[in-house]
Symmetry: C2
Subunit: 194 residues, 2 copies
C-alpha cells in the first residue's frame, strides 16, 4: 500500500510538473526595487489589441513620419475584460512604435506599408499604489532599455488618456474586438461618443 | 494508509484538473470531416506577427481602399520558429483584413488611421497531407463563416507565396521580430533579397 501511495505521489508530482511547464508565463507587471517597470521579455506573445498608422494626439502634422503603433495587453487582464468590460488591477499595456516601410518584395510599387524597425516602447499599468493620482501609471522605455521609470503626473499621457479614452484610461475605441464587449457590458464612459 | 492514498489521489486529480483549466488551449489547426479548416475561436489570442496597411500583391491600384491586415500564428508553431527559424507541420496562420478608419476621438483631424470592421479572413496551413502540392494549403473564409474550404492549386496564393516569401511560403520579410531569427538560423530562402 505504501508503494502504491508513493507511486501515486510520483505520478501526481510529474503531472503537476508537466502542467506547470506548459502553463502560460505569469503576465502581471514586474517592477525593480526602485519602482521602474520591467519590459516583459515575452510581451510580443501577449494579446494583440490593434495597430494604427500615423496616429497622433492632436491636429495633423504636415510632413510628419507616419509610424505604426502596436498595442499588447497581458493575457490575464484581457480575459477579465472579456468577462466584465473592465480592467483589473495589474493590467499592463505595452505600446510599440515601429517604422513604416514601403519597399520590399511583393509590395514593390504599391502604396502599402509594412512594419519594420522598433522606434519606441511605452507602458500603461493599472496600479493605484504606483499611479501619481488615480489608478493608471505611465512609463516610457529608453532605447534598448528593459525597464522604465514612472512618468510624472504632468506628462501629457495622464490628462489625455483620462479625458479621451473610452473605457477608464484606455483607448478601447481603437480596439475593434473590445469595443463591442465594452458596449455590451455598459462599460463605456458616460458621455463617450465615437 | 488507504485513506492517505485516496486523499493523495484526490489532490492529484484536483491539481491536474486545475492545471488543465488554466493551460492554453491546443492551437493546432482543426478540420471538419469534409476537409474544411475551422476558424479557431481564440485566434485573436494567438501570437501577432505584424500588421500592414494598403498591402497589395502587385502594382499600386489608384483609388483602392487601403485596408489593414493583421497576421496571427498558432503559439506552438511560433515557439518552434523561435528555436529553429522554420515552421513545423500544423503551423497555422490567420490573416485578417480590417477597414481603416480615420475619424474618432483624439485622432480627429489627424492623418492617422486605426482598425475597425472586419472585412475578410484567410488561413495558411502547413500540412503536406492537405496541400494540393507541396506543404502549404490556403483557405478563404466567407462572411461570418467559421470554416473554409481548401482553395484549388490554381489560386494565386500558391504561386505568389511560393515565389516571393522569405521563409518557405511565409512572408517573414514583413514580420520584424521573426526576420532576424530567420537570418540567424540561416533559414531565408537561397536568393531571397530584401
Amino acid at each position: 500500500m505504501k508503494k502504491y501511495a508513493f507511486a501515486l505521489a510520483l505520478i501526481c508530482a510529474a503531472a503537476i510538473g508537466l502542467n506547470s511547464q506548459t502553463a502560460p508565463p505569469a503576465s502581471a507587471p514586474q517592477f525593480t526595487p526602485d519602482g521602474k517597470v520591467v519590459l516583459p521579455k515575452d510581451y510580443r506573445e501577449w494579446v494583440f489589441l490593434s495597430a494604427g498608422v500615423g496616429m497622433t494626439y492632436g491636429a495633423a502634422e504636415a510632413g510628419r513620419q507616419q509610424n505604426f503603433d502596436n498595442v499588447f495587453v497581458n493575457p490575464a487582464a484581457y480575459r477579465v475584460f472579456l468577462q466584465t468590460g473592465r480592467w483589473p488591477d495589474h493590467t499592463m499595456f505595452v505600446v510599440e512604435q515601429r517604422a513604416a516601410s514601403s519597399e520590399g518584395t511583393v509590395n514593390k510599387g504599391s502604396v502599402g506599408r509594412y512594419q519594420s524597425d522598433l522606434i519606441s516602447i511605452g507602458a500603461e499599468v493599472k496600479d493605484p499604489s504606483r499611479a501619481p493620482e488615480g489608478e493608471w501609471a505611465y512609463f516610457s522605455f529608453g532605447k534598448n532599455s528593459d525597464n522604465a521609470p514612472l512618468l510624472p503626473k504632468t506628462a501629457a499621457c495622464y490628462s489625455c488618456h483620462s479625458q479621451n479614452a473610452a473605457v477608464e484610461n484606455t483607448f478601447v475605441q481603437f480596439y475593434p474586438t473590445l469595443l463591442p464587449v465594452a458596449r455590451a457590458k455598459g462599460a463605456l464612459k458616460p458621455g463617450f461618443k465615437q
